[in-house]
Point group: C2
Chain length 209, copies 2
């Protein structure tokens, strides 16, 4: 909002530090993504939302590709923090409960951020050549899951001789459940119940033998 | 090819029975889908592939929507048959083996028919108002999974007090694994190994207690 006003009355505005402008641009990009969906995410729409000229988006973020990359990083960081916070939850001293709460957090993130989920994991926007920075943030997000697997295995909740293999299985499970739910393809009466039962199935399947 | 030639030299062709023409049109539609992907599936492209005028596609199939519906029905039927054949496999007398072979068949179908999979389960083409016929074929496909669950439960391989709930969990699992693999998001060295291990995890998780 402040950017919008200051653009409208350029003589009045003071210099805005560059990081602030980028933060506001990114907030505008998220607002457009949430409101219009991935198909509506354009340089023009984000510039209008932020109240600056489209050239400003090109200069600051490198156009559409830069916009998408910045949003992907934001999405991966938000999911990573969600998983880490759920896994660290103080209310669940038992490791089994922390593991479950981490699984539930994945679904909560996806349902609360469906458009982020769509660009992160559903190819809603083509981004074949992600930058190293995007890869690093995506890897950090998967790393949070691998750490949860390692700690759960150390506590005897699951067996994970190869934590990467187990983390991939868990990701397949939660992604599948969430992807079907976001597409309206859960055919049971209560998707939340079915998801919880699925997490329980998964833990039983991964339990030490 | 015969349609193409007969269109080029209309005086020579005899009358082709309507069902044959529709079968050839559908074969042309599949060829376009496989070669060009969902984005390339247009009335014009299918008409060119079949060697008829675009109006012929509208008349026979009802345009783009009809094309997509016909392909969806073909895809659901093909997946249903794959699952049923795998589950009935004579080489696997034990129910546990039949259940596993059914799980492996799902991945095989998806990897062999990625563009079908994309229009069936990935919203690669918007089809919000599917006809009753499409719904019926999709339901028959899911029904094949439910029957496999019921028979596996009857044989004591898994517990399924509510077969629909268990079928949905299994679908979430295999869809998630396959969707990530199709998007290049399996981070383990051998996706086939990881998938097989995942099916084993699932069976353990669903085992009678």
């Amino acid at each position: 909002m402040m950017v919008r006003m200051s653009e409208a009355i350029p003589a009045r505005r003071g210099r805005t530090p560059s990081a602030d402008v980028e933060r506001e641009l990114l907030a505008a990009a998220e607002a457009v993504l949430v409101r219009e969906g991935p198909a509506g995410l354009t340089v023009r729409a984000v510039a209008a939302e932020a109240g600056i000229a489209p050239m400003g988006v090109y200069n600051r973020l490198g156009g559409k590709d830069g916009l998408v990359e910045a949003l992907l990083i934001k999405g991966f960081d938000r999911l990573r923090v969600s998983l880490e916070e759920a896994f660290a939850a103080a209310g669940e001293p038992a490791m089994r409960g922390r593991f479950i709460s981490c699984g539930l957090a994945y679904r909560r993130f996806a349902l609360a951020n469906p458009h982020f989920y769509a660009i992160m994991f559903e190819d809603a926007i083509l981004h074949e050549h992600d930058s190293q920075e995007v890869h690093d943030h995506a890897a950090a997000c998967f790393g949070a899951l691998v750490r949860a697997v390692e700690m759960s295995a150390a506590a005897g909740v699951i067996a994970a001789p190869d934590p990467l293999e187990v983390a991939q299985q868990i990701w397949s499970a939660v992604h599948g459940a969430v992807a079907l739910e976001l597409k309206g393809l859960v055919l049971t009466p209560d998707p939340e119940y079915t998801y919880q039962a699925f997490i329980a199935t998964l833990i039983r399947g991964l339990a030490p033998r």
